[in-house]
């Protein structure tokens, strides 16, 4: 095939005409150009505008998504905090019903991984063996030894610690003891019992040591019925109280003494007032024989 003849300049005239037109266009008033080109501009740039809008929308949606995720996380935390407050205030237990003795932790038994704590209060402050020890978050343990100015606390993490627990939602009871790691387990719960992950376990008050309604932990794992061997379900709890984080505790030393309101003074009669003022003796009884 023959190549096009490059010397063919038939279109040269046209080139020059359009060159002239373009030069003339350069010097037309800007407002006229704007008016004339508004519509063609919109048409020619429509695909670009549409695609830019599309990508902008994606970007906006991503930002919105990110913002909403943050908001959701914040609200979840707020929700959990409020639930905890409601549980403590309006729930099972009102701590104002008890006399609480505040104590500082002055010693920890490192060898047993926080199983025992030493407090700076003792018998002199009214502490006795088997008194419950708590914090704002929940149960810490119980007093097992008392000297005059110090007390030894057996925490929930101790091997021998057993607390009668109960599911706050389903009221299923069991015994809470330590498990491996920083975890507790709820024992003696039958395999068909209604326990779900996220449930709160509180003290049931059955042991006689801890009053009913103190927070113990949250269910983080339950063994399936199909996998359960035997009668009982294995339930793992995450304790609300981190033994390593606490610095001070409260010991429930007994029920609060309810002070009776002062009785209103009896209004004295006129005769009594006069008698007081004049110191008049009551009239003597005349005995007639």
């Amino acid at each position: 095939m023959k190549p096009p003849d490059s010397t063919d300049l038939a279109g040269s005239r046209l080139f020059f005409i359009f060159l002239l037109i373009s030069v003339v266009l350069l010097f037309i008033s800007g407002s006229i150009k704007l008016r004339l080109l508004a519509y063609p501009k919109a048409v020619f740039l429509a695909p670009l505008n549409i695609s830019l809008r599309f990508f902008n929308n994606i970007s906006t949606l991503r930002q919105e998504n990110s913002r909403l995720k943050g908001l959701l996380a914040r609200l979840q935390i707020e929700n959990a905090t409020l639930k905890e407050i409601i549980q403590r205030q309006g729930g099972e237990l009102n701590l104002s019903e008890f006399r609480l003795e505040k104590a500082q932790i002055v010693g920890r038994d490192q060898m047993t991984f926080g199983s025992y704590l030493l407090l700076d209060k003792g018998a002199a402050q009214g502490l006795k063996v088997n008194m419950p020890v708590i914090t704002e978050q929940g149960i810490v343990g119980k007093v097992i030894q008392v000297s005059t100015l110090q007390a030894l606390v057996e925490t929930m993490r101790a091997k021998d610690s057993k607390i009668a627990g109960m599911d706050q939602r389903s009221r299923v009871t069991g015994v809470v003891s330590v498990n491996r790691g920083n975890r507790l387990k709820l024992n003696y719960v039958t395999s068909d019992a209604d326990i779900q992950i996220g449930d709160t376990i509180i003290s049931s008050g059955l042991g006689g040591v801890f009053p009913k309604g103190l927070l113990i932990g949250q269910v983080i794992k339950t063994q399936d019925h199909s996998q359960a061997n035997g009668l009982f379900k294995e339930i793992l709890l995450k304790p609300f109280v981190d033994i390593y984080q606490i610095e001070e505790v409260y010991i429930i030393t007994g029920a609060a003494v309810k002070s009776e309101p002062p009785k209103p003074e009896r209004v004295k009669t006129d005769w009594e007032k006069t008698k007081e003022r004049l110191r008049i003796e009551p009239p003597l009884e005349i005995k007639i024989r």
């Binding site: 300049l9 279109g11 359009f18 030069v23 266009l25 080109l37």
Partner: protein
């Protein structure tokens, strides 16, 4: 059909160049230059007009300027075909001349040129794209008479 593809490519490149915005390479001008080396004079004229019109739409206040540049490019390259049959070998040189003409005329007419960094970045990217674009356009809209 080949002509239609050329127009379509110019339009798509125009959208791409406009979408990139600042530091965008002169893709449309590059396409006009490459097509002018292989297309017939009338087709080149049409392509130049279309490319210039598209580019001027983005900035209506300087309407006519890009039209002028594209027409000069198209016409110039077409005329050079007389002297250099296989002009693709001189693409870099042609492109440099065209870019120089564009900024030089811009300075002469409007008394201003874009910031130097923009010119350098845009020009460099355009120069880098010369060979790939030439290769791609050759494959897409190659003329059967083209040899070697």
């Amino acid at each position: 059909m080949r002509t239609f593809f050329r127009f379509l490519i110019i339009y798509l490149l125009f959208l791409l160049q406009t979408g990139i915005g600042r530091y965008a390479p002169d893709l449309v001008l590059l396409a006009v230059l490459i097509f002018a080396l292989s297309a017939a004079p009338k087709t080149t004229l049409g392509l130049s007009l279309f490319a210039g019109f598209c580019l001027d739409l983005v900035n209506p206040m300087t309407f006519g300027f890009n039209l002028l540049i594209c027409l000069i490019t198209g016409f110039g390259i077409q005329s050079l075909q007389k002297l250099v049959y296989y002009g693709h070998r001189y693409l870099f040189l042609f492109l440099l001349i065209v870019l120089g003409l564009k900024y030089g005329l811009g300075f002469l007419i409007f008394g201003a040129i874009p910031p130097i960094p923009e010119i350098i970045v845009s020009g460099l990217i355009t120069l880098i794209l010369v060979l790939p674009f030439n290769f791609i356009f050759d494959r897409l809209v190659a003329n059967p008479w083209r040899i070697g």
